[in-house]
Protein backbone atom coordinates (compact mmCIF):
# COMPACT_ATOMS: atom_id res chain seq x y z
CA UNK A 1 0.00 0.00 0.00
CA UNK A 2 1.41 3.40 -0.96
CA UNK A 3 1.57 6.42 1.35
CA UNK A 4 -1.25 8.06 -0.61
CA UNK A 5 -3.55 5.07 -0.20
CA UNK A 6 -2.79 4.89 3.51
CA UNK A 7 -3.41 8.59 4.00
CA UNK A 8 -6.71 8.34 2.12
CA UNK A 9 -7.85 5.46 4.35
CA UNK A 10 -6.76 7.28 7.52
CA UNK A 11 -8.74 10.32 6.43
CA UNK A 12 -11.75 8.05 5.90
CA UNK A 13 -11.55 6.87 9.50
CA UNK A 14 -9.11 3.96 9.59
CA UNK A 15 -6.96 5.58 12.28
CA UNK A 16 -5.09 2.35 13.05
CA UNK A 17 -3.26 2.70 9.74
CA UNK A 18 -1.50 5.80 11.04
CA UNK A 19 0.58 3.52 13.25
CA UNK A 20 1.72 1.66 10.15
CA UNK A 21 2.45 4.90 8.33
CA UNK A 22 4.54 6.10 11.27
CA UNK A 23 6.61 2.92 11.19
CA UNK A 24 7.79 3.84 7.70
CA UNK A 25 9.28 7.15 8.83
CA UNK A 26 9.72 7.13 12.59
CA UNK A 27 13.37 6.04 12.54
CA UNK A 28 14.34 8.69 10.01
CA UNK A 29 12.43 11.44 11.77
CA UNK A 30 13.76 10.41 15.17
CA UNK A 31 17.32 10.42 13.81
CA UNK A 32 16.80 13.85 12.26
CA UNK A 33 15.34 15.29 15.47
CA UNK A 34 18.14 13.70 17.46
CA UNK A 35 20.84 15.19 15.25
CA UNK A 36 19.21 18.59 15.30
CA UNK A 37 19.09 18.55 19.10
CA UNK A 38 22.42 16.87 19.62
CA UNK A 39 24.47 19.89 18.82
CA UNK A 40 22.61 21.72 21.58
CA UNK A 41 22.91 18.84 24.08
CA UNK A 42 19.16 18.41 24.12
CA UNK A 43 19.07 14.82 22.85
CA UNK A 44 16.92 13.68 25.75
CA UNK A 45 14.06 15.62 24.26
CA UNK A 46 14.32 13.84 20.91
CA UNK A 47 11.65 11.23 21.67
CA UNK A 48 9.17 13.79 22.97
CA UNK A 49 9.68 16.06 19.99
CA UNK A 50 9.44 13.14 17.60
CA UNK A 51 6.13 12.13 19.21
CA UNK A 52 4.99 15.72 18.96
CA UNK A 53 5.91 15.76 15.27
CA UNK A 54 3.81 12.70 14.48
CA UNK A 55 0.91 13.90 16.59
CA UNK A 56 0.92 17.23 14.77
CA UNK A 57 1.11 15.36 11.47
CA UNK A 58 -1.97 13.31 12.40
CA UNK A 59 -3.89 16.40 13.43
CA UNK A 60 -2.98 18.21 10.20
CA UNK A 61 -3.35 15.23 7.90
CA UNK A 62 -6.54 16.68 6.41
CA UNK A 63 -4.52 19.66 5.14
CA UNK A 64 -1.78 17.53 3.56
CA UNK A 65 -1.81 17.75 -0.23
CA UNK A 66 0.47 15.44 -2.13
CA UNK A 67 0.74 17.81 -5.07
CA UNK A 68 2.65 20.26 -2.88
CA UNK A 69 5.18 17.83 -1.38
CA UNK A 70 5.77 14.18 -0.61
CA UNK A 71 4.61 12.92 2.77
CA UNK A 72 8.23 12.40 3.80
CA UNK A 73 9.17 16.00 2.98
CA UNK A 74 6.05 17.23 4.78
CA UNK A 75 6.99 15.24 7.89
CA UNK A 76 10.56 16.57 7.88
CA UNK A 77 9.18 20.10 7.64
CA UNK A 78 6.94 19.54 10.67
CA UNK A 79 9.83 17.94 12.56
CA UNK A 80 12.16 20.85 11.78
CA UNK A 81 9.59 23.44 12.83
CA UNK A 82 8.90 21.53 16.05
CA UNK A 83 12.61 21.34 16.88
CA UNK A 84 13.23 25.00 16.06
CA UNK A 85 10.31 26.03 18.20
CA UNK A 86 11.70 24.01 21.10
CA UNK A 87 15.22 25.36 20.58
CA UNK A 88 13.86 28.89 20.71
CA UNK A 89 12.19 28.06 24.02
CA UNK A 90 15.39 26.52 25.36
CA UNK A 91 17.60 29.33 24.08
CA UNK A 92 20.05 30.28 26.78
CA UNK A 93 19.29 27.23 28.88
CA UNK A 94 22.54 25.40 28.30
CA UNK A 95 22.54 21.81 29.49
CA UNK A 96 25.98 20.55 30.47
CA UNK A 97 27.21 17.54 28.57
CA UNK A 98 27.34 15.24 31.62
CA UNK A 99 23.65 15.85 32.32
CA UNK A 100 22.44 14.94 28.86
CA UNK A 101 23.18 11.30 29.66
CA UNK A 102 23.65 10.34 26.04
CA UNK A 103 27.25 11.29 25.42
CA UNK A 104 28.47 8.55 23.07
CA UNK A 105 30.19 5.97 25.20
CA UNK A 106 33.63 4.89 24.10
CA UNK A 107 33.87 1.20 23.18
CA UNK A 108 35.19 -0.98 26.03
CA UNK A 109 38.36 -1.97 24.20
CA UNK A 110 39.49 1.65 23.78
CA UNK A 111 42.23 2.80 26.16
CA UNK A 112 41.31 5.62 28.58
CA UNK A 113 43.52 8.16 26.75
CA UNK A 114 41.89 7.30 23.46
CA UNK A 115 38.45 7.52 25.04
CA UNK A 116 39.27 11.03 26.22
CA UNK A 117 40.47 11.97 22.76
CA UNK A 118 37.34 10.50 21.24
CA UNK A 119 35.05 12.45 23.55
CA UNK A 120 37.03 15.56 22.81
CA UNK A 121 36.58 14.98 19.11
CA UNK A 122 32.82 14.37 19.50
CA UNK A 123 32.48 17.55 21.50
CA UNK A 124 34.43 19.53 18.89
CA UNK A 125 32.24 18.34 16.05
CA UNK A 126 29.09 19.03 18.06
CA UNK A 127 30.30 22.50 18.79
CA UNK A 128 31.23 23.08 15.15
CA UNK A 129 27.77 22.01 13.97
CA UNK A 130 26.05 23.96 16.72
CA UNK A 131 27.87 27.13 15.67
CA UNK A 132 26.40 26.94 12.17
CA UNK A 133 23.47 29.17 11.27
CA UNK A 134 20.22 27.21 11.52
CA UNK A 135 19.64 26.68 7.79
CA UNK A 136 23.20 25.53 7.19
CA UNK A 137 22.91 23.13 10.12
CA UNK A 138 19.57 21.72 8.89
CA UNK A 139 20.92 21.32 5.36
CA UNK A 140 24.06 19.57 6.63
CA UNK A 141 22.10 17.16 8.85
CA UNK A 142 19.53 16.38 6.18
CA UNK A 143 22.29 15.70 3.65
CA UNK A 144 24.93 13.90 5.73
CA UNK A 145 22.78 11.96 8.19
CA UNK A 146 19.45 11.54 6.41
CA UNK A 147 20.95 11.32 2.90
CA UNK A 148 18.20 13.39 1.33
CA UNK A 149 18.81 14.77 -2.14
CA UNK A 150 19.12 18.46 -2.93
CA UNK A 151 15.52 18.78 -4.10
CA UNK A 152 14.09 17.26 -0.91
CA UNK A 153 16.25 19.50 1.25
CA UNK A 154 15.18 22.48 -0.83
CA UNK A 155 11.50 21.60 -0.28
CA UNK A 156 11.97 21.22 3.48
CA UNK A 157 13.91 24.44 3.89
CA UNK A 158 11.81 26.38 1.40
CA UNK A 159 14.88 27.23 -0.68
CA UNK A 160 15.99 26.65 -4.24
CA UNK A 161 18.32 23.77 -5.13
CA UNK A 162 21.16 26.19 -5.87
CA UNK A 163 20.66 27.81 -2.45
CA UNK A 164 20.87 24.38 -0.84
CA UNK A 165 24.17 23.71 -2.62
CA UNK A 166 25.44 27.02 -1.37
CA UNK A 167 24.24 26.29 2.18
CA UNK A 168 25.97 22.90 2.14
CA UNK A 169 29.21 24.34 0.81
CA UNK A 170 29.29 27.02 3.47
CA UNK A 171 28.32 24.58 6.23
CA UNK A 172 31.05 22.09 5.34
CA UNK A 173 33.55 24.86 4.89
CA UNK A 174 32.69 26.31 8.29
CA UNK A 175 32.95 22.90 10.01
CA UNK A 176 36.31 22.29 8.34
CA UNK A 177 37.64 25.67 9.44
CA UNK A 178 36.51 25.06 13.02
CA UNK A 179 38.09 21.60 13.11
CA UNK A 180 41.38 22.57 11.44
CA UNK A 181 43.19 23.50 14.68
CA UNK A 182 42.25 20.12 16.12
CA UNK A 183 43.59 18.29 13.05
CA UNK A 184 46.92 20.12 13.27
CA UNK A 185 47.19 19.56 17.01
CA UNK A 186 46.25 15.89 16.65
CA UNK A 187 48.75 15.34 13.84
CA UNK A 188 51.43 17.15 15.82
CA UNK A 189 50.79 14.90 18.86
CA UNK A 190 50.96 11.84 16.67
CA UNK A 191 54.18 13.12 15.14
CA UNK A 192 55.68 13.80 18.60
CA UNK A 193 54.58 10.36 19.79
CA UNK A 194 56.28 8.66 16.88
CA UNK A 195 59.47 10.69 17.47
CA UNK A 196 59.69 9.72 21.16
CA UNK A 197 59.49 5.95 20.42
Amino acid sequence: MTDSQMIREIKEGNVELFSELMRRYQRKILAFVYHMLRSSHLELMAEDLCSETFYKAFRSLHSFREVDASFSTWLYTIARNTVLSELRKQKGAHIPLEESGVNPAAPAEIAPEQAILRNEKVELVREAINNLPEKQRSALILREYDQLDYQEIADILGQSVSSVKSLLFRARSSVKVQLEPYFYEYNFEQYEGMKSR
Binding site: S19, M22, L30, A31, V175
Partner: protein, 198 residues
Protein backbone atom coordinates in the same frame (compact mmCIF):
# COMPACT_ATOMS: atom_id res chain seq x y z
CA UNK B 1 41.43 21.74 -13.54
CA UNK B 2 42.85 24.82 -11.82
CA UNK B 3 43.30 25.33 -8.07
CA UNK B 4 40.35 27.75 -7.99
CA UNK B 5 38.09 25.24 -9.71
CA UNK B 6 39.22 22.55 -7.28
CA UNK B 7 38.46 24.82 -4.30
CA UNK B 8 35.00 25.45 -5.66
CA UNK B 9 33.99 21.82 -5.72
CA UNK B 10 35.72 20.61 -2.52
CA UNK B 11 32.60 21.40 -0.48
CA UNK B 12 30.30 19.42 -2.73
CA UNK B 13 32.65 16.67 -3.85
CA UNK B 14 31.11 14.14 -1.47
CA UNK B 15 27.73 14.65 -3.19
CA UNK B 16 29.06 13.89 -6.66
CA UNK B 17 28.39 10.50 -8.16
CA UNK B 18 31.37 8.25 -8.75
CA UNK B 19 30.77 8.43 -12.47
CA UNK B 20 30.99 12.24 -12.47
CA UNK B 21 33.87 13.40 -14.65
CA UNK B 22 34.86 16.04 -12.07
CA UNK B 23 36.09 13.29 -9.75
CA UNK B 24 38.77 12.14 -12.16
CA UNK B 25 39.72 15.75 -13.00
CA UNK B 26 40.11 16.52 -9.30
CA UNK B 27 42.17 13.39 -8.69
CA UNK B 28 44.50 14.37 -11.51
CA UNK B 29 44.83 17.85 -10.11
CA UNK B 30 45.56 16.89 -6.50
CA UNK B 31 48.13 14.38 -7.72
CA UNK B 32 50.08 17.34 -9.08
CA UNK B 33 49.22 20.08 -6.55
CA UNK B 34 50.35 19.45 -2.97
CA UNK B 35 48.45 22.47 -1.55
CA UNK B 36 45.14 21.31 -3.00
CA UNK B 37 45.92 17.76 -1.89
CA UNK B 38 46.38 18.97 1.71
CA UNK B 39 43.22 21.05 1.50
CA UNK B 40 41.30 18.11 0.06
CA UNK B 41 42.44 15.93 2.99
CA UNK B 42 41.15 18.52 5.44
CA UNK B 43 37.75 18.56 3.73
CA UNK B 44 37.51 14.77 3.75
CA UNK B 45 38.72 14.48 7.37
CA UNK B 46 36.19 17.00 8.64
CA UNK B 47 33.43 15.18 6.75
CA UNK B 48 34.41 11.85 8.25
CA UNK B 49 34.35 13.46 11.70
CA UNK B 50 30.83 14.70 11.09
CA UNK B 51 29.73 11.29 9.83
CA UNK B 52 31.18 9.66 12.95
CA UNK B 53 28.40 11.26 14.96
CA UNK B 54 25.70 9.57 12.92
CA UNK B 55 23.21 7.61 15.00
CA UNK B 56 21.08 4.81 13.60
CA UNK B 57 19.99 2.32 16.26
CA UNK B 58 16.57 3.63 17.15
CA UNK B 59 14.29 0.60 16.77
CA UNK B 60 13.10 0.32 20.38
CA UNK B 61 12.73 4.04 20.81
CA UNK B 62 10.82 4.28 17.55
CA UNK B 63 8.31 1.63 18.66
CA UNK B 64 7.84 3.43 21.95
CA UNK B 65 7.14 6.67 20.11
CA UNK B 66 4.64 4.87 17.90
CA UNK B 67 2.74 3.61 20.95
CA UNK B 68 2.86 7.00 22.65
CA UNK B 69 1.45 8.79 19.62
CA UNK B 70 -1.39 6.30 19.11
CA UNK B 71 -2.22 6.40 22.84
CA UNK B 72 -2.32 10.18 22.74
CA UNK B 73 -4.56 10.19 19.67
CA UNK B 74 -7.03 7.79 21.31
CA UNK B 75 -6.82 9.56 24.68
CA UNK B 76 -7.63 12.95 23.21
CA UNK B 77 -10.14 11.63 20.65
CA UNK B 78 -11.82 8.60 22.26
CA UNK B 79 -14.38 8.34 19.47
CA UNK B 80 -11.58 7.22 17.15
CA UNK B 81 -10.93 4.06 19.18
CA UNK B 82 -11.76 1.07 17.03
CA UNK B 83 -14.65 -1.01 18.42
CA UNK B 84 -13.10 -4.25 19.65
CA UNK B 85 -16.45 -5.78 20.58
CA UNK B 86 -17.65 -6.05 17.00
CA UNK B 87 -19.53 -9.41 17.01
CA UNK B 88 -19.38 -10.15 13.32
CA UNK B 89 -18.41 -8.63 10.03
CA UNK B 90 -21.37 -6.90 8.36
CA UNK B 91 -21.53 -7.81 4.70
CA UNK B 92 -21.60 -5.02 2.15
CA UNK B 93 -25.08 -5.99 0.89
CA UNK B 94 -26.56 -5.57 4.39
CA UNK B 95 -24.97 -2.17 4.71
CA UNK B 96 -26.44 -1.26 1.34
CA UNK B 97 -29.91 -2.34 2.49
CA UNK B 98 -29.57 -0.24 5.61
CA UNK B 99 -28.61 2.74 3.50
CA UNK B 100 -31.67 2.25 1.26
CA UNK B 101 -33.90 1.97 4.29
CA UNK B 102 -32.55 5.19 5.72
CA UNK B 103 -32.94 6.93 2.40
CA UNK B 104 -36.55 5.69 2.14
CA UNK B 105 -37.40 6.90 5.65
CA UNK B 106 -35.95 10.29 4.97
CA UNK B 107 -37.96 10.48 1.75
CA UNK B 108 -41.18 9.71 3.68
CA UNK B 109 -40.34 12.46 6.12
CA UNK B 110 -39.66 14.97 3.37
CA UNK B 111 -42.84 13.96 1.50
CA UNK B 112 -44.97 14.37 4.59
CA UNK B 113 -43.50 17.76 5.34
CA UNK B 114 -44.17 18.80 1.76
CA UNK B 115 -47.73 17.46 1.98
CA UNK B 116 -48.46 19.47 5.09
CA UNK B 117 -46.98 22.62 3.65
CA UNK B 118 -48.91 22.38 0.38
CA UNK B 119 -52.24 20.91 1.60
CA UNK B 120 -52.32 22.99 4.75
CA UNK B 121 -52.45 26.19 2.70
CA UNK B 122 -55.04 25.02 0.16
CA UNK B 123 -57.77 23.76 2.64
CA UNK B 124 -60.81 26.13 2.87
CA UNK B 125 -61.41 28.01 6.08
CA UNK B 126 -64.54 26.89 7.79
CA UNK B 127 -65.59 30.22 9.27
CA UNK B 128 -69.21 31.12 9.95
CA UNK B 129 -70.61 34.27 8.39
CA UNK B 130 -71.06 37.01 10.87
CA UNK B 131 -74.74 37.61 11.63
CA UNK B 132 -75.37 41.37 11.89
CA UNK B 133 -79.07 41.22 12.73
CA UNK B 134 -79.89 44.03 10.17
CA UNK B 135 -82.83 43.10 7.92
CA UNK B 136 -83.54 44.57 4.49
CA UNK B 137 -86.47 47.04 4.48
CA UNK B 138 -89.77 46.28 2.71
CA UNK B 139 -92.20 49.06 1.52
CA UNK B 140 -95.87 48.29 2.11
CA UNK B 141 -98.11 48.72 -0.93
CA UNK B 142 -95.39 48.54 -3.51
CA UNK B 143 -96.01 46.41 -6.64
CA UNK B 144 -93.54 43.62 -6.02
CA UNK B 145 -94.64 43.09 -2.43
CA UNK B 146 -96.53 39.88 -3.34
CA UNK B 147 -93.35 37.84 -3.87
CA UNK B 148 -91.19 39.59 -1.37
CA UNK B 149 -89.59 37.41 1.32
CA UNK B 150 -87.12 37.96 4.14
CA UNK B 151 -84.01 35.83 4.33
CA UNK B 152 -83.61 35.60 8.06
CA UNK B 153 -80.20 34.29 9.08
CA UNK B 154 -80.30 31.01 10.90
CA UNK B 155 -78.42 32.32 13.88
CA UNK B 156 -81.07 34.92 14.40
CA UNK B 157 -83.73 32.27 14.73
CA UNK B 158 -82.41 31.25 18.14
CA UNK B 159 -81.65 27.72 16.99
CA UNK B 160 -77.93 26.86 16.80
CA UNK B 161 -76.61 23.98 14.81
CA UNK B 162 -74.70 21.44 16.90
CA UNK B 163 -70.87 21.64 16.95
CA UNK B 164 -69.16 18.95 14.88
CA UNK B 165 -65.92 17.78 16.50
CA UNK B 166 -63.51 15.68 14.44
CA UNK B 167 -62.64 12.65 16.52
CA UNK B 168 -59.51 10.59 15.74
CA UNK B 169 -56.78 11.42 13.28
CA UNK B 170 -57.81 12.62 9.90
CA UNK B 171 -55.95 11.66 6.74
CA UNK B 172 -53.08 14.25 6.98
CA UNK B 173 -52.39 13.35 10.58
CA UNK B 174 -51.58 9.78 9.57
CA UNK B 175 -48.92 11.32 7.37
CA UNK B 176 -47.55 13.21 10.35
CA UNK B 177 -47.31 10.06 12.43
CA UNK B 178 -45.75 8.21 9.51
CA UNK B 179 -43.12 10.90 8.99
CA UNK B 180 -42.17 10.92 12.68
CA UNK B 181 -41.90 7.15 12.61
CA UNK B 182 -39.83 7.40 9.44
CA UNK B 183 -37.39 9.81 11.05
CA UNK B 184 -37.20 7.68 14.18
CA UNK B 185 -36.56 4.56 12.14
CA UNK B 186 -33.92 6.39 10.12
CA UNK B 187 -32.11 7.59 13.23
CA UNK B 188 -32.22 4.18 14.90
CA UNK B 189 -31.02 2.48 11.73
CA UNK B 190 -28.25 5.03 11.27
CA UNK B 191 -27.02 4.52 14.81
CA UNK B 192 -27.10 0.77 14.45
CA UNK B 193 -25.30 0.94 11.13
CA UNK B 194 -22.56 3.25 12.37
CA UNK B 195 -22.09 0.99 15.40
CA UNK B 196 -21.63 -2.02 13.17
CA UNK B 197 -19.27 -0.18 10.82
CA UNK B 198 -16.91 0.59 13.70
Amino acid sequence: MTCDEAQEIFGLISDLKETDSRWSELEEHIAECSDCAAEFDLWMDSRSYVLDLQVEAFEEKAEEINRNVMDRIYRESPWLIPDQSKPFEVPASTRRHFSLWIAGSVMIFLSSVLYFVVMGKSSPKETAEAATGILPTGIAGSADMSHFSYDIPVTNSGIIEPFVVGMGPSHPQYWMILSVLGVAMALISLRRLSHMRK
